[in-house]
C-alpha cells in the first residue's frame, strides 16, 4: 500500500534542491548573483584603472579635429574634419566593399555551384579545385595575394604615356587598370538629370506594381503574361526615352592621363579592388557549396512530377525546383553576407580605410580612447549584423513550410 505522506504544506530547505518547482529558481538566483558579481567586479576594475591612468570615459574626442587623411572616400573629407566624420567615411567604405562583395560573391558562387554539378567531368573538377583552394586558405592571405597581383602584374601609370605606350586602357578609355588602382568613368549630372533619375525610380515602382497585377490576374483568369520581357521593358524603356528626350543630361567623364597620373573619372584604389576581389572569390567558394547543397536538396521526384504534370523545363525550374532550393540556400547565403561584412575588417592589413582602419585604427591610436573606440566599433558591427539577421528571420518566417 502506497501511503502518500504529506507532512504539512510547509516549505523545507531541501525543496530548493529536490523539488523541480523550486530547483530552477535556486539555480537561476545563484547564477544571477554570480553574474552580477562578475560584472560589478569588471566595472569596478575598469573605473579604478581609468582613474589610475587619469583618463575619463567620454565621447568628446569625436568632435575634435582628426588631422589625418583618408585616400579612398565616398563623401567629402579633409584632415581638418572631425573624428566623427572620419568614422562615417570609414563606415561608408565598409558598406561599399561589403555591398560590392556580396553582389560579386553571389554571382561567382551561383556559377561555380552550378558548374560543380555539371555533367562535364573536367569543369566539375576545376570548380572543385577552386572551391577547395579558397576554402582552405585564410582569407587574409588571399587579400594579400590579390593586392600583390594588382601591384606586381599591372602596368604603372607611366606605362600609358608616350606615342607607343606599353599599356592601353580598355573599353575605349572607359576602364584603366594600373598598379595603383582602377579608373572608371564618373557620371556628370547636368541640368534636368534629376528628372531622368526620377523616371528611373518610378519605372522600378511601376515594374513591381505590374508584377503584382500580373500574378493576381493569373490567379483570377489563369492567363499567363510574358512577365519577364514586359518588366525588362518597363525597367529600361522609360528611362532611356527620358534620357534622350531631355537631351542626354548625364554624361560620363573619362579618366585621362595628365602628367604622372590619371585625372578624372572615379578612382578605385588597389586596396579596394584587391579587398573586393579577394572577399568575392573567398565568399564565392563558400556560396558555391551552399548553392550546390540547395540544388541537391530538391529530390529528383519533384522535377519528375512536374514533368509528369506537363510543365516545360524552364517553368519546372521557376515554379517547382527554385522555390524549394531557395528555401535551403537563402539562410546560409545571408550568413555568408554577414561573414563577408565582418571579414571586410581585414582591410586594415592592406591599408583600405574602412571603419576598423579609421575609428579602430588611427583615431584610436591618436586619441588613446581605446575603450570608447572599440565600443563604438563593436556597436557598428553589431547593428549591421543584427539588421542582416533580422532580414534573414523575416525571410525564414515567410518561406517556412506550413505543416499540419
Amino acid at each position: 500500500m502506497a501511503v502518500i505522506s504529506n507532512d504539512g504544506d510547509g516549505f523545507r530547505l531541501g525543496m530548493l534542491v529536490y523539488d523541480t518547482r523550486y530547483r530552477s529558481y535556486t539555480i537561476q538566483i545563484f547564477a544571477l548573483i554570480l553574474f552580477m558579481l562578475a560584472v560589478a567586479w569588471l566595472l569596478d576594475n575598469a573605473i579604478t584603472n581609468l582613474a589610475l591612468l587619469g583618463k575619463t570615459f567620454s565621447f568628446g574626442f569625436l568632435f575634435e579635429t582628426a588631422s589625418y587623411d583618408i585616400n579612398q572616400r565616398l563623401i567629402d573629407y579633409t584632415s581638418t574634419d572631425t573624428h566623427a566624420r572620419a568614422a562615417i567615411v570609414g563606415i561608408l567604405n565598409t558598406l561599399l566593399v561589403a555591398f560590392l562583395g556580396c553582389i560579386t560573391a553571389t554571382i561567382i558562387g551561383v556559377i561555380a555551384g552550378v558548374l560543380r554539378l555539371s555533367n562535364n567531368w573536367l569543369i566539375a573538377r576545376l570548380m572543385t579545385i577552386y572551391v577547395e583552394a579558397f576554402r582552405n586558405i585564410p582569407v587574409l592571405i588571399w587579400i594579400l595575394i590579390t593586392v600583390a597581383v594588382i601591384n606586381e602584374s599591372l602596368p604603372a601609370p607611366s606605362g600609358f604615356r608616350g606615342a607607343d605606350p606599353a599599356a592601353s586602357p580598355f573599353l575605349g578609355g572607359m576602364l584603366v587598370l594600373t598598379n595603383r588602382g582602377f579608373y572608371i568613368p564618373a557620371p556628370i549630372w547636368g541640368d534636368m538629370s534629376m528628372a531622368v533619375v526620377a523616371v528611373f525610380l518610378l519605372s522600378i515602382v511601376a515594374m513591381f506594381v505590374f508584377r503584382r497585377w500580373a500574378r493576381k490576374r493569373q490567379e483570377a483568369t489563369g492567363e499567363i503574361l510574358p512577365v519577364l520581357r514586359i518588366s525588362l521593358a518597363i525597367f529600361f524603356l522609360p528611362t532611356l526615352l527620358a534620357f534622350f528626350a531631355l537631351g542626354m543630361p548625364i554624361t560620363l567623364e573619362y579618366p585621362e592621363l595628365k602628367g604622372f597620373n590619371f585625372q578624372g573619372g572615379v578612382f578605385m584604389r588597389d586596396s579596394l579592388i584587391g579587398l573586393w576581389l579577394a572577399l568575392s572569390l573567398y565568399t564565392g567558394a563558400f556560396t558555391a557549396e551552399i548553392v550546390r547543397a540547395g540544388i541537391l536538396s530538391v529530390s529528383k521526384g519533384q522535377s519528375e512530377a512536374a514533368f509528369a504534370l506537363g510543365l516545360r523545363p524552364n517553368r519546372t525550374m521557376n515554379l517547382v525546383v527554385l522555390p524549394q532550393a531557395l528555401r535551403v540556400i537563402v539562410p546560409p547565403l545571408i550568413s555568408q553576407y554577414l561573414n563577408l561584412t565582418k571579414n571586410s575588417s581585414l582591410a586594415i592589413a592592406v591599408g583600405y580605410m574602412d571603419v576598423t582602419g579609421t575609428l579602430g585604427g588611427i583615431t584610436m591610436n591618436q586619441t588613446g580612447k581605446a575603450m570608447e573606440c572599440i565600443l563604438l566599433l563593436m556597436t557598428f558591427y553589431l547593428i549591421a549584423s543584427l539588421s542582416i539577421s533580422s532580414v534573414m528571420n523575416w525571410y525564414n518566417e515567410r518561406v517556412k513550410l506550413r505543416e499540419r
Partner: protein
Amino acid sequence: MSTSHEPFVATGDIPASPPPSSAVGPIAWVRQNLFSSVSNTVMTLLGIYVIYSLLASVVPWLLLNSVWNASSLQDCRSIDNGACLAVIRERYLQFIYGFYPNEERWRPVVAFVLMLVALWPVLFAGAPRKLLFGSMLYPAVAYWLIWGGTIWGPIAVMAGPIVGIIVYRIVDQVLCRLMDEGIAGILAVSGAVLVTVAWWLFAVAEVDSALAAVLDIGLEPVASDKIGGFLLSLIIGVSGIAGSFPLGIALALGRRSNLIFIKAICTGFIEFIRGVPLITLLFVASVLLQYFLPPGTTFDLILRVVIMVTMFAAAYMAEVIRGGLAALPKGQYEAADALGLDYWKSMRLIILPQALKISIPGIVNTFIGLFKDTTLVIVIGMLDPVGILGPIRADQNWNGIVWELYGFIGIFFFIFCFGMSRYSLYLERKLQTGHR
C-alpha cells in the same frame, strides 16, 4: 502431314557479343563526360585552355626555372627567372619557429610529437583508452616545454582540480552527517570550486617558488614575443579548438535550457560574439582586457589571444551544436525522460552523442575557420607566418619577394585545413549507423 526435319534447338548459350566501343571503355567515357553536346564540348575546351595556361605559367616558374641556391633576390634573378625558392630554404626555420632561440628548438618539436601522441586516443577509436589520461596532462607538459621555466608551475596548476576533488570528498563526508544530502552535495561542490579557483589565484605562485627553491628543475624560459611562425598558429589554433568544443557544448545547452536567466546570458553572449569581427576581439585582447582586471595585473599576450579566440569559436560552435540538438527528433528527448534519466544523464547518454554526430561537418568547419583565423593575430603585431613576412622583406637580401612566401604559407594552411576536412569525412563514415 509430317515434317521431315527436326526444329532447331540450341544446345548451349550463345556468348554475348561485346558492347560497341562507343558504349564502354575510355572513348565512351570521354564522349559521355566531356563531349556529349556542343555546349559541353565548348566548356571542355575552355577548361583545357584554363588548365593549360595555369600549368604553363606555374610549372616552368616553380619547377623548371626555380632557384634553390642563392643568397639574395638579386642572385636568384641573375641565375634564372623562375621562383626564388632560396628564400624558403634560408628562412623556413624562421617560418616554423619565429624567433624561438636556436638551441631550444627541440622543445617545440617534442611538444608537437607529444601532441600527436595525445591526439591519437582522442581522434581514433582503435587507440588504447588509458592513453586518455596522458592526453589530459598534455596541456601542462606542452606549456612547460614551449615556455620553459620551472617544472613546478604547471604541476601546481594541474594540482588545482586534484585539490578541489579532495576538498569535495572531505566536505561532503562531514556535511552529510549534519544536514540533507543534496544540500551537502551542492555546498561541497561550490566549496571545491572556490578552493580550486583560490588555489590557482593565490597558491600556485607560492608553491611554484617554494618548490623551485628546494629543487630547481626547469628549462630555459622563452618569452612570448619570441614565439612565432607556424608554431604560434598551432598554439593558438590547437588550444582554441580544445577550449571551444566544451565551451560551445555548454553554451548550446544553456541556450536551449528552460532556465530563462541562463538562456538569456548564453543567447546574449553568442549573439554578441557572432555579431562582431574577430579583429575587434583581438583589439580587446591587446589593449582593453587590462582595463577590466585588477590594477597591475598583466598576463601573457598569447594567453589573452587564446582566450578571445576560444570565446569567438565557442559562440560559432554553440550555434552548430544547437542546430544538431534541434535536428534530433523530439521522441529522443521524451524517451530519455521516460527512462527516468535526469537532465545531465539524458544529455550525456542519449542526446549529445546523436546531436554531435549530426553536427560533425559543422563542427569541423568551425575548427577549420578558427585555424584560418589565427592569421589575424598579425593586426595586433604578433609574428604568425604572415607576420614573419615583415622581417624577411625588411632584410635587404630579400626585399621585394612576394609570390614564393605567400605560396609557402598558403600551402601550409591548405595541408592542415584540407586534412581536417578529410578527417571529418572519415568520422562521418565511421559513425554512420545506417538510419538514412
